[in-house]
Symmetry: C2
């Protein structure tokens, strides 16, 4: 690999500086990171000015981050890293026969204190003033992925942004817990509620992630989506997002989170004065201890 | 290279999202960075928790940085990146026939407003109270690298930390411009001054760089060194550091900046009541437009 004209011993010297007491997994990660970062610098003959521009951008991301905003995460998102780590985690969880919990991306707008609502209720507590709020009826079953049997008393939690691209905790105009709720499946495994047809929105582009997007000649938009967490005793929790097939940003999500299996179709709904469109979505949960080859 | 079991199209998708208006060099750097970062994640099957720990560490570095401290730079330093970029820059400058100015690392403690002093004067304006301050006489010539002719009226600027590891602007106990000065070479190309024999000191280890060092089971010390900038009309400026051969950290500098050619020997000095040791160091400057194969 030493097909460069720089000191061929340098990277080994940095790696071997690590002491015997380094935790093995951390040593593996730092060794790999140091090799990749050094290869990146050599392959591109990185200049001091370019390196320093990168340092200042990362410092800026940290300075912009606080309890409500994680700009370092967003910088990773726009280069696809969070979605890639999500894919890796998902694949490992799939392959494990006794994964304790499939960790997954919550995103920054999840709230642990979201209240339960009754099936058939609406999560739209504040009607968007821009007239772009289209009410949809969403319903489905939670089922055992292996046997297809309906799961009674499972929990389905959803949250979504309003038409202005803001989640309720970002927007003083929205009632608390607007566009979020938890639902329990009934005796037939069914859940149902009214929500908004989701709309695309830009990720915050006033910081380093936005600067990178502009410099890469890319737009900041995420395709319309609804966040879902489904849980049931005896089953692996599922955290996911579903995407509207008609969204113009479906093929060019600024954070690369769309998977084909997560694209859904809103269709016409008849004879319901509350909603003219509907979405049917069944959630399939994997029993604890089951090995699967695709969920 | 796709010897992994993850989506083989994902990285290409992220890279190809860059638009036509992306500046070509930036596109090259981002393409390479994205490929290396994704390979790093896949090769190590990076978990969400590990990725998020990295994000939080980088955010912390930014939050700790201000006008007086660049923690993002220090994180790069402890994994050897600044020294590697310095080597790359140095090699490119060597190879260029008409490099305008060899950019080089100044470090965070350079001051542009350092005053000129007379040859033979001392830069030690505040004597260290810990008794560890050993006065040294440093002298030499500035010469033309090609012809070896002495250069008259060249400038030699030096700065160094005190025995407590602090530069004067970090330490209210030190007089302003303590341990720094600029000197002009005389009619024979000579400069001279008194300074301290430099002492090793730790890089600041109360932040993410220090945390990484501890986790890598490494010490934070830099070997004793004196910073030098030499300039002369018609010659390429030289920015460098020289290191004391007797320093215990010479082979394990926490930021990997030592080069063999920069190691110097302090020797006994006789018949000088002001200093018992001395260092002779000639600075060789490359004429503008000259091509060299090693300076």
């Amino acid at each position: 690999m030493a097909s460069h004209r720089f000191d061929p011993t340098f990277t080994d010297k940095v790696v071997s500086a690590m002491g015997d007491k380094t935790e093995p997994r951390f040593k593996q990660l730092m060794t790999s990171l140091i090799r990749h970062v050094h290869d990146f610098a050599r392959e591109n003959e990185l200049t001091i000015d370019e390196w320093m521009a990168g340092v200042q951008l990362m410092n800026w991301a940290g300075q912009m981050s606080d309890a409500k905003r994680n700009e370092g995460q967003l910088v990773c998102d726009v280069i696809g890293l969070e979605s890639l780590v999500d894919e890796i985690t998902f694949k490992l969880a799939e392959e494990a026969t006794d994964a304790p919990t499939a960790t997954a991306i919550l995103g920054p707008f999840f709230r642990a204190d979201t209240p339960f609502r009754s099936n058939g209720e609406t999560v739209v507590r504040t009607i968007p003033k821009d007239g772009r709020g289209e009410i949809a009826f969403m319903s489905g079953k939670v089922v055992n992925y292996v046997t297809k049997a309906p799961l009674v008393n499972a929990s389905v939690e959803v949250w979504q942004a309003s038409t202005n691209g803001l989640y309720e905790q970002q927007d003083p105009e929205q009632e608390e817990f607007n566009l979020r709720g938890k639902f329990r499946t009934d005796a037939e495994g069914k859940y149902s509620f009214y929500c908004l047809r989701p709309t695309p929105y830009p990720v915050p582009d006033d910081g380093p992630a936005g600067k990178l997007l502009k410099m890469m000649d890319r737009h900041p938009f995420r395709p319309a989506h609804i966040h879902i967490i489904a849980t049931c005793d005896g089953y692996k929790p599922l955290t996911t997002q579903i995407f509207d097939r008609k969204d113009p940003y479906l093929t060019n999500d600024s954070v690369f989170a769309v998977k084909d299996s997560l694209i859904v179709d809103f269709v016409e709904r008849k004879n319901d004065p509350q909603a003219r469109i509907e979405l049917t979505y069944d959630v399939r949960l994997v029993p604890d201890g089951a090995k699967t080859s695709g969920v």
